[in-house]
Amino acid sequence: MEQAPPDPERQLQPAPLEPLGSPDAGLGAAVGKETEGAGEESSGVDTMTHNNFWLKKIEISVSEAEKRTGRNAMNMQETYTAYLIETRSIEHTDGQSVLTDSLWRRYSEFELLRSYLLVYYPHIVVPPLPEKRAEFVWHKLSADNMDPDFVERRRIGLENFLLRIASHPLLCRDKIFYLFLTQVFFFYLADSRLKALNATFRVKNPDKRFTDLKHYSDELQSVISHLLRVRARVADRLYGVYKVHGNYGRVFSEWSAIEKEMGDGLQSAGHHMDVYASSIDDILEDEEHYADQLKEYLFYAEALRAVCRKHELMQYDLEMAAQDLASKKQQCEELATGTVRTFSLKGMTTKLFGQETPEQREARIKVLEEQINEGEQQLKSKNLEGREFVKNAWADIERFKEQKNRDLKEALISYAVMQISMCKKVGFGFNEDICIFRSAYTFI
């Protein structure tokens, strides 16, 4: 990305770390190693996410979660969960991994990292965090953030977040990301730009591609939310069906006690009903994993939308600058020719208090000409910046699209496989029933 003229407010480019070897080779190799379906793995320790960080391979994992109590900013006691981030470097030759860094972080620190990335990589679709609060729950799951299942799924989600960053060709080289993994004290000032993202404004000439993309991200968010809500209800109902079957267990057992020939068959049927009823817990737990995969893309849609917003912001900025320049030019022209077409305070006071002297006018024209010059330079650089943004943003959006299609297909496949194995297991159980009935009966 070409460097624009320095502007301390906007051009805060993160200083990439100097690679030990040739920078191009490192970048090329890193780009080549994209993680496949990083979201599916439950533990990043076993599945390697190779990242040519300074030409060394590293492994990142969020391996543990721990409940902590501490004092918050208002000096009040609070309970929170801390997560252990471990970084290992893998020696090329023997594949052994050595623990290089490990530290504990809480969810809010992950949020800080993400905010930073959002501001400093405006054209990148920044990977999302797992949900802050448990949403789309069905009745069995607790909506409590301290619930062990929720904490576990969040641990996996946080690990996934870090792995996605580590596998992104640009984000993986970020210094702050490195510090997040290695430095215990992580301090980052929120940028005012972040607030600007939420401001409302109107752009005169919107880029159709970004408008379309924004619509897509809105619709994607809406449809995935709907899907997750209904899925939770489906899970709830299915739970009810399985559990009621469990009631058969006892009554079949009691019935078998008064029967002679039928006793065995009834007893086994009762037992099978108990097994059937208890199998739902595992089934639904597996399905939660699928829900998490969908949730990730629900939040990714938000990130996509943010890129569009940033583009709008840039576009708006550009339009404002162009407008400003045009008005200054007009002012200059009027001063030079003596015609006053535009309203200005100076013009009014001139009318009221008399014309200004030619020297004064000359001075003003000179100032304006300087400003116009500067403005033209700025507009040129803004245009350039805008074009660069669009180019880079679309590159990342294309990358994101590929990733999304891959990941979601994987998710659907694993969902189908889950259903298949469930059908087989349950069907087999019923078949066993039939066999027992058949054999337990003696014929007269």
Partner: protein
């Protein structure tokens, strides 16, 4: 229950008896005649989970069935009667062809009863008559009256809450027809009841109402004598074997009642689950309209969930139509059996009372008075009849429940098989690599 609006009954024209297939002919007949099923031990079912192939005793495959065949329907077709060991059957009865009759006063359903018999008690070899529920009800009362020492099979419930259940829906009528058919078949199987005059009239009379009005009560000697047993005798202790039967029936009815309630609850939960599934599938369709490469996979998932929903609907319908009625029938059966047991107690009580009275008279006559002897006869016949009927009932019960429970397990397997097929079929679709657009 879960489904569209009730379907209209088909109206068939007059049907010649010659066109009616013989009850035991081939697999094209809806119901095989005879008693309860005893499937051959060699009958195995093809399954995705089990590896056994469909085998019939004669080595062929049943015509008109497609795999995976339902075990219960197959069992229906291949019913072999085990009650009459090796004896040839000489009486076949079938209930079918329900028809709606709309009159000024009322609307009702009649069923066609077809009888084929070589028995001398029947003038013709074949009969076809139409009867309505109240005729069956009449028959049952008459049987109870005239054969009080025997267990009379139950009828499906008489009263139906209007507005809750549609008396003329195809599902309700079919359930009732099956129950009525079973009722007549049980009587047909019974060595004593099948020869009852009222039963004969029911099967053959052109105008049953005329006969009903005549009130000809051709009671057997036993029936008459038992009818005149005055109540008011109290039995001191029930003999052990009958007490055991009584206890068994109490527990049995209790357990069946519980199972009935659980089954109803399951159906309710399954229906609610179905409602959610019917909303879930289409959301994937909506999503597919937003996507490019993912459009086909998502649409595939949507269709898949739709197929599973349909399969579930079929399962709940089967439970309602096949499972619940049998449970209820056996609960009714237990109730009527308990009242027969009480009657038996009455007979025994009368005998014991009379015997005691004779003993108290302190007469030296060794000869027991005739009427006391008659009482003893009565009691012993009653006991014998009842014991025989109990054994027959136990056998039937075993067969029925075996078929029922296996049938339900089978229906469940079919449901999971359908779901399995649906999900397996979309895996290749999901794995398909699309050309870059």
């Amino acid at each position: 229950m879960a489904g569209g609006p009730p379907k209209a009954l088909p109206s068939t024209g007059p049907h010649s008896l010659r066109d009616m297939p013989h009850p035991l002919a081939g697999s094209s007949s809806e119901e095989a005649v005879g008693g309860d099923s005893t499937p051959s031990p060699d009958l195995l079912m093809a399954r995705s989970f089990g590896d056994k192939d469909l085998i019939l005793p004669n080595g062929g495959t049943p015509a008109g069935t497609s795999s995976p065949a339902s075990s219960s329907s197959l069992l229906n077709r291949l019913q072999l009667d085990d009650d009459i060991d090796g004896e040839t059957r000489d009486l076949f009865v079938i209930v079918d062809d329900p028809k709606k009759h709309v009159c000024t006063m009322e609307t009702y359903i009649t069923y066609r009863i077809t009888t084929k018999s070589t028995r001398v008690e029947f003038d013709l070899p074949e009969y076809s008559v139409r009867r309505r529920y109240q005729d069956f009800d009449w028959l049952r009362s008459k049987l109870e009256e005239s054969q009080p020492t025997h267990l009379i099979p139950p009828l499906p419930e008489k009263f139906v809450v209007k507005g809750v259940v549609d008396r003329f829906s195809e599902e309700f009528v079919e359930t009732r027809r099956k129950a009525l058919d079973k009722f007549l078949k049980r009587i047909t199987d019974h060595p004593v009841l099948s020869f009852n005059e009222h039963f004969n009239i029911f099967l053959t009379a052109k105008d049953l109402n005329a006969y009903k009005k005549q009130g000809i009560a051709l009671l057997t000697r036993m029936g008459e004598s038992v009818k005149h047993v005055t109540g008011g005798y109290k039995l001191r202790t029930r003999p052990l074997e009958f007490a055991a039967i009584g206890d068994y029936l109490d527990t049995f009815a209790l357990k069946l009642g519980t199972i009935d309630r659980i089954a109803q609850r399951i159906i309710k939960e399954e229906i609610e689950y179905l409602v959610e599934l019917r909303e879930y599938g289409p959301v994937y369709s909506t999503w597919s309209t937003l996507e490019g490469e993912l459009a086909e996979p998502l649409e595939g998932v949507s269709a898949c969930i739709g197929n599973c929903s349909t399969a579930l609907e079929e399962l709940t319908d089967d439970m309602t139509e096949d499972f619940l009625p049998v449970l209820r029938e056996y609960i009714l059966y237990s109730d009527s059996m308990k009242s027969v047991l009480k009657k038996r107690d009455q007979v025994q009580a009368e005998y014991e009372a009379k015997l005691e009275a004779v003993a108290l008279r302190k007469e030296d006559r060794p000869k027991v008075p005739a009427d006391v002897e008659k009482c003893q006869d009565r009691m012993e016949c009653f006991n014998a009849d009842l014991k025989a009927d109990m054994e027959r009932w136990q056998n039937n019960k075993r067969q029925d429940f075996r078929q029922l429970l296996m049938g339900m397990a089978d229906k469940n397997i079919q449901y999971y098989e359908k779901c399995l097929m649906a999900w397996e079929s979309i895996i290749p679709l999901l794995q398909e690599k699309q050309e870059a657009k």
